[in-house]
Amino acid sequence: MVDRFRSKPLELPDPEQPFARADLAFYDVDHSQGSFEVRVFLGARRGLRRDAGTEDAAYAGSFFVFGHERCHGEEGHCDVPTDRDPFDFRLPHHLEPGLQLLTVTDAVRRLVEAGKRKAPVDALVLGPEGEALKALEFSHLRLLTYA
């Protein structure tokens, strides 16, 4: 779990190929911790301020996780099953990691128009009082563009 994250530079769309929309998809986002905001920045310089927000030129948007916080059952109640029987028709475990889709069209367009070909994604994780919270975990992220 991390309270901030900086990705390797992501390849931006080719300026010759116009797009109508761009989404950042965060896959397998954990929601077993408390509730939090993830502020996402695209193309920020290294050393992004901890309290950077919407006024920052690299700010692309936020997504929010309604976190589970802690288990109120007995031992094992909140363990996500690793193996699922193909005939198990119950709904998925409530702590299965999820997808977070953030539309970042304007931010991507700004970078492409400025001639950038790659840009890192920064994520700052803030708890309910705006405090840094080590709660972010996901498997990978992808920039998706749509014509």
Partner: protein, 269 residues
């Protein structure tokens, strides 16, 4: 609005309207308070504590989050809760909190003020939490981020919601709407910030009514768009309802109105 009769032997029925929580008439607000207050005093499965507990504590936890069933499950939840309120005060409906407007006021005054105009405790401002619903034994009532303490981020803008409503794919729309919804839970904070206890806070219902309304608006813009067929006959436990049965709000007996006004007609002699 009227809908077709539910049986060939019955006349068309009028649906009830859910309204903006900041635009309720004095009478509408008084009835809502009366319904919630009465429900809060009932200790069995007709009462407020029972319905609040369905979401999280006490176990089992039924709520659907980060799930394909997020919107249908919460629509069913609101429906059954509203029915429980209507058992107390016939005709009352859950209002929505439009968190895209009046950002300066924060919570709608109907939910934010601790007392009613006549000085009584406001049942929409807080609620007791049953012992089995508490995260800590000392958490006997709902609580929120202190009034006046700075919010960690602004409430969602109209543009953000428009952008979400512009999605044409159901799951993309739901995913982004759920994220906005998550932010409101965090923004209110306290009991609302945790899925185990969120539904004990009376503003939970107004918040989810807004979420449900946005799904309804999206449905109006995207006729026929819905979850894939494979999901439609899934049950939404603990409710006696399937996903398919949640798809049309007027079939559930309600509609959303920006405002309503009525005058009596000539009596039928």
């Amino acid at each position: 609005m009227t809908v077709a009769p539910t049986s060939a032997r019955r006349a068309p029925v009028r649906v009830r309207h859910r309204r903006d929580a900041s635009r309720l008439s004095k009478g509408q607000l008084a009835e809502l308070r009366q319904a919630v207050s009465r429900a809060q005093k009932i200790g069995d499965d007709r009462g407020y504590q029972y319905w609040a507990g369905v979401h999280g504590l006490p176990l089992p936890r039924y709520c659907q989050h980060t799930s394909p069933l997020f919107l249908p499950w919460h629509r069913a939840y609101l429906y059954f809760f509203e029915k429980a309120l209507q058992d107390q005060v016939p005709g009352v409906t859950v209002p929505w909190w439009d968190w895209t407007s009046r950002h300066g006021q924060g919570l709608p005054p109907a939910y934010g003020r601790a007392k009613t105009p006549n000085g009584k405790p406001n049942p929409l401002a807080s609620s007791p939490i049953q012992p089995a619903g508490r995260r800590e034994a000392s958490e006997k009532r709902t609580w929120r981020r202190r009034r006046g303490s700075p919010a960690p981020f602004p409430l969602p803008s109209v543009d953000r919601v428009r952008e979400t409503l512009a999605n044409r794919d159901y799951f993309t729309f739901q995913n982004q709407l759920e994220s906005i919804h998550n932010g409101i839970h965090v923004w209110v904070g306290g009991t609302m910030g945790d899925p185990w206890t969120a539904a004990y806070d009376p503003v939970f219902w107004a918040h989810h009514c807004m979420v449900d309304r946005l799904w309804y608006l999206w449905q109006l813009d995207n006729p026929g768009a819905r979850l894939p067929e494979a999901y439609l006959d899934l049950a939404l436990p603990p409710f006696e309802m399937t996903v398919r049965e949640t798809l049309e709000v007027t079939a559930l007996g309600y509609d959303y109105a920006a405002g309503t006004a009525a005058v009596p007609g000539p009596s039928r002699g």
